[in-house]
């Protein structure tokens, strides 16, 4: 039925150009080579010349190979049959399960009408005090984890996924090391979360172009669940690889690069994905947590920089802990007024004192004289680091608040904390556990 073309006139990078007629922009084609078949997507039309990016890469494609246009944009199966399954970057089964083709949906669909969104208002509890207490995660939030290669960001994502009270977890892996993929699979399996998860995995060994599809596929599937009232958590790791793939394709297409070789539309490309995070009026929600590695720990690098302008805050993972400075949840104000009356007080006070602790540390390292106040701060700071910041701490928000009061009482008098009198009367611990 579909027309087959065999006159490939140009192959450059992973982009091939073929002469064809009646082809739609962004349409999908199947390229058959001696090595097998691959999907490809139309990215430019110029008269009869059709340029396609080949998902499996152009290596081994011959100018005489067949290109069959399928007459529709990229689609992916959706629905509950996908649960517990693992697919690759173009949606083909990676586990031993059958290929799926029901409820096909177009990927990269239109954006949500803002008037159909609601103001986010439900907290996602993670059991991590640095998140729950200090930078609460909110349902429908889009939040990246900024870190450098080598930090345990994948472990953090997996842990949040397991502990978060969501209906469905979707993992989109881009340029993932194979052992990281196995780590996610085994961790979720061990915790019994695999049956409510779907994996779309592009490993570092897979062709670059396939990486570009992962966020769109993951989010298109998530959107279908959310429209049916499900609360979905989407994990994307690592978005920097996605951006690098964008860079590669745009340079191949001879586009003028803007900043460090990245295309001028990097912001729009990232926004099109992150903005899929949504709380639908009268239906479910999508929350996005993404890992963004910062080359050289540089937050002004185009990838973290553009990301920061799009997302609703960021977690800054450094030295194996979530740094309180540099981390931000823009939506925390929507939820932390409704948890416990002392939540905001503890949050503000502990962070201010921790900032003073950092100043005292600096003073100490410069060799200036330490006052008794400085010594109190040093004691407090060390306790804060081990009892709150450490990622090994796994307690509920309420327990974290109680622990906060304990730490304050252990180190300071009530007046020194600057907390309002009425709060002190209600919450200041009567007995202090000494260590």
């Amino acid at each position: 039925m579909h027309k087959v073309y065999t006159n490939i006139i140009q192959i450059a990078g992973d982009v091939i150009t073929v002469e064809a007629e009646g082809v739609g922009y962004m349409e999908i084609a199947r390229v058959s080579t001696r090595r097998g078949t691959s999907l490809a997507q139309v990215i430019r039309l110029d008269g009869k010349k059709v340029s396609l990016q080949v998902f499996a890469g152009s290596r081994g494609v011959s100018t005489g190979d067949e290109v069959r246009f399928l007459g529709h944009p990229m689609r992916i199966a959706s629905g509950s049959d996908l649960l517990g399954r693992i697919f690759n970057g173009s949606g083909a089964a990676m586990d031993k399960g059958p290929a799926l083709s029901q409820n096909l949906v177009d990927i990269g669909g239109p954006s949500v009408n803002p008037v159909k969104r609601i103001i986010p208002n439900k907290m996602v509890r993670t059991g991590i005090p640095m998140i729950d207490l200090f930078n609460s995660l909110v349902e429908s939030q889009k939040l990246p984890v900024f870190s450098v290669a080598g930090e345990p960001y994948n472990g953090l994502l997996a842990r949040i996924a397991i502990q978060a009270e969501v209906d469905i977890i979707i993992l989109g892996g881009m340029g993932l090391k194979y052992d990281d993929y196995l780590f996610f699979r085994d961790t979720l399996q061990k915790q019994g979360a695999l049956s409510r998860s779907i994996f779309f995995i592009h490993t570092a060994a897979d062709p670059t172009v396939e990486c570009l599809l992962v966020p769109d596929i993951s989010l298109a599937v998530a959107e279908q669940f959310a429209l049916n009232g499900k609360r979905v958590l989407v994990l994307l790791t690592d978005m920097t690889n996605f951006c690098d793939a964008l860079k590669e394709i745009s340079i191949t297409m001879e586009q003028v690069p803007s900043n460090r070789g990245y295309p001028g539309d990097l912001y729009s490309q990232l926004a099109a994905r992150y903005e899929k995070a949504v709380d639908f009026e009268g239906a479910g929600s999508i929350t996005i947590l993404a890992a963004t590695t910062m080359p050289g720990d540089d937050v002004t690098h185009p990838v973290p920089d553009n990301t920061g302008y799009i997302t609703e805050g960021q977690f800054y993972l450094k030295g194996g802990v979530i740094e309180p400075f540099g981390s931000l949840s823009r939506l925390k104000q929507q939820v932390n007024g409704k948890t416990r009356a002392d939540h905001r007080t503890i949050m503000d006070t502990m962070i201010q004192l921790f900032a003073s602790y950092r100043e005292a540390l600096e003073k100490q390292s410069m060799g200036f004289q330490m006052s008794s106040w400085d010594n109190k701060l040093l004691k407090y700071g060390r306790l804060f680091e081990s009892e709150m910041m450490s990622l090994e701490v796994n307690i509920s928000l309420e327990n974290a608040l109680d622990r906060g009061w304990q730490l304050l009482a252990e180190c300071f008098t009530p007046e020194e904390t600057g907390i309002k009198k009425s709060m002190i009367e209600q919450y200041w611990p009567k007995t202090v556990v000494s260590r």
């Binding site: 009646g22 082809v23 739609g24 922009y25 962004m26 349409e27 430019r44 039309l45 110029d46 008269g47 009869k48 944009p73 990269g108 669909g109 239109p110 954006s111 949500v112 009408n113 803002p114 008037v115 159909k116 969104r117 609601i118 103001i119 986010p120 429209l227 586009q255 003028v256 690069p257 803007s258 900043n259 295309p263 001028g264 539309d265 912001y267 729009s268 926004a271 099109a272 903005e275 899929k276 949504v278 639908f280 239906a283 937050v299 002004t300 690098h301 185009p302 920089d305 920061g308 302008y309 799009i310 609703e312 805050g313 400075f325 540099g326 931000l328 939506l331 900032a355 410069m366 200036f368």
Partner: protein, 584 residues
């Protein structure tokens, strides 16, 4: 009209489509791509021989070579008339609530809805009478819209003297009813309606002269009004890295600024922030009018995931609506968040046009486009002697928070005030995070010049001492320097910083600012009898605490007076004896 001009698509690259046609083409005219049942809006942006290059305001997925394109001869225009206030439009002026009714959760491409409800009826009162000779922009009559008299004006596109041949009786009319008939010098007749349309990229100039912006526009933000003021009809920009609080600042301004009408252009930013504005504004009562805030607000939103080309048009749509209300003698404030996204949209298009790139791949015409946008602000004297103004405040999102980049630099050249946000200030949680050491304003404040100069001076001195202390430590700093440091910090904490979550402190009216700043001025000038650094620190900490309470007290309430009394006594006790008491 001649026969319809039709072209065919020959090339598709992202949202740029090249069309071949055998007829004439008008630069910037609107054309529709016919794709099955869908009609996609697009605009001609370059013409090369028989080829017209067009930016498409929609996703171009699925379009094919050879598809039909219909040209309209019309420039991209907006509808102007009663019913704009309280609305939420996309970048092409489609009302989003109506789109939601039609299409549900998602924005379907190719669906366009009239900006104004044609059948809505308005009570028209004529002002002109038959035989009057009028010009474009002169008033024919008015209809009530929310709390305003919405003047119905002679269409801006007519030229020369026009004679009113007939005008409607007072009564209810919808947008399709003729309310007046005009005749020009050469005998041509025109019909006037309650609405008219105007091309967005051309400024409305139906006024007698443009005036110097001198009157301050009070935002009730102390740091802005007292040190870096904005003028009615002026321009200002807010550049800052992400997370420094640009959007929060814009939201506070939109709530409290003393303008008649606020037009918000959410350009390429987060949908979540627009949602917050559009869901909360109808519930917030405006203190100046006693009506919901949404009654005097128009929101234009093209969020970051909506089609890029419409992002560019959204700022023009917003400024045209602002100019329209200015023509009625109103003071309009336009807040554009963020102009960098608009510049990026230009960059994307320029790249597709394969133009020679300028710095950071922005097009060479970036500066002139930014300049001509900000130049649409101004105070104007209308032909009837009244004045109206458009004030433009734009945020800039510089890459990496570096103000040296092209968009920030191009903007700084043309604005009258610069409110630079800094990462250090926001990390230290000092809000608003406008850095007083780098910001400037060319407008005059309502604060006495001597007083505000002292404010600037103490901030600089305090900063210098703080820098020095980092090297030599507290013990190596002289007491008088240390006192200046404390004074600067005190001024910053109790006056420049404002708590957006405190009902009283979030907005400080002009009168209170003058009063409190004068009070603080005397503290900054005073010499205190403080023996050592620890006592000085303690004194200013206590003072800071007292002021915090004062800031939260209702203006001129008993509580306000009590705290003032307490502060005065506290200060007096520490003054050097030869000085006058502080409250004299």
């Amino acid at each position: 009209m001649a026969e319809k001009r039709i072209g065919r698509i020959v090339k598709i690259n992202g949202n740029m489509v090249t069309v071949e046609l055998d007829n004439f083409v008008v630069q910037n005219e609107v054309a529709y791509i016919v794709h099955g049942k869908e009609r996609l809006k697009s605009e001609v942006i370059r013409i090369k021989g028989r080829l017209a290059e067009m930016q498409v305001y929609e996703n171009t997925g699925g379009l094919k070579i050879g598809e039909k394109v219909e040209f309209t001869s019309e420039l991209l225009s907006v509808e102007l008339g009663p019913g704009l206030l309280g609305q939420i439009f996309d970048g092409l002026q489609n009302p989003l609530p109506q789109l939601a009714e039609k299409c549900g959760f998602f924005l379907q491409r190719g669906v366009y809805v009239h900006a104004l409800e044609e059948r809505s009826e308005w009570q028209f009162t004529p002002l002109a009478k038959a035989g009057d000779r009028l010009r474009a922009g002169d008033r024919l009559g008015f209809v009530p819209e929310k709390i305003f008299k919405h003047f119905i004006m002679v269409p801006f596109n007519l030229s020369g003297n026009l004679e009113v041949t007939s005008i409607a009786e007072p009564g209810k009319y919808n947008l399709k009813d003729t309310v007046a008939k005009l005749k020009d010098g050469s005998g041509r007749h025109y019909e006037c309606f309650l609405r008219q349309s105007w091309p967005v990229k051309i400024p409305i100039e139906a006024y007698s002269e443009k005036l110097m912006p001198v009157q301050p526009l009070v935002t009730k933000m102390r740091l802005i009004d007292s040190l870096f003021p904005i003028a009615r009809g002026g321009t200002y920009c807010i550049p800052g890295p992400f997370g420094a609080g640009k959007t929060v600042l814009q939201q506070l301004t939109s709530r409290h600024a003393e303008a008649d009408i606020v037009v918000i252009a959410a350009c390429g930013e987060r949908a979540g922030e627009v949602v917050e504005t559009l869901k909360t504004f109808p519930k917030i009562t405006d203190l100046m009018t006693g009506r919901p805030l949404s009654d005097r607000t128009v929101i234009i939103c093209n969020t970051s995931s909506m089609p890029v080309a419409a992002r560019e048009s959204s700022v023009y749509t917003a400024v045209t609506i602002a100019e329209y209300y200015r023509q009625m003698g109103l003071n309009v404030l336009l807040l554009a968040d963020s102009t960098s996204r608009w510049a990026q949209a230009m960059r994307e298009m320029s790249g597709r046009l394969e133009e020679i790139p300028g710095e950071e791949a922005f097009p060479a015409y970036l500066e002139s486009r930014i300049a001509s946008f900000y130049e649409r602000a101004g105070v104007v004297r209308l032909r009837d002697g009244t004045t109206g103004s458009v004030t433009i405040g734009g945020t800039v999102s510089p890459a990496g928070g570096n103000f040296e980049e092209p968009v920030t630099q191009a903007t700084l050249k043309v604005v009258g005030a610069f409110h630079g946000l800094s990462r250090e200030r926001s990390n230290a949680r000092r809000y608003p995070a406008i850095d007083p050491l780098i910001s400037w304003s060319k407008y005059r404040s309502f604060i006495d010049e001597k007083v505000s100069r002292k404010g600037h001076q103490i901030l600089r001195k305090s900063h210098d001492v703080a820098q020095m202390m980092k090297v030599v430590g507290e013990e190596g700093t002289a007491l008088y320097d240390y006192l200046d440091y404390l004074k600067g910090e005190f001024f910053d904490f109790v006056y420049l910083q404002q708590n957006a979550f405190d009902k009283v402190d979030e907005a400080t009216p002009q009168q209170r600012q003058v009063y409190v700043f004068n009070f603080i001025y005397r503290i900054l000038e005073a010499e205190f009898a403080l023996e050592d650094k620890e006592k000085a620190l303690h004194f200013f900490q206590r003072l800071r605490q007292l002021f915090r309470g004062w800031n939260s007290a209702q203006w001129n309430s008993a509580e306000f007076k009590n705290i003032e009394e307490e502060i005065s006594l506290f200060i007096e006790a520490k003054l050097k004896k030869q000085d006058q008491p502080i409250n004299a």
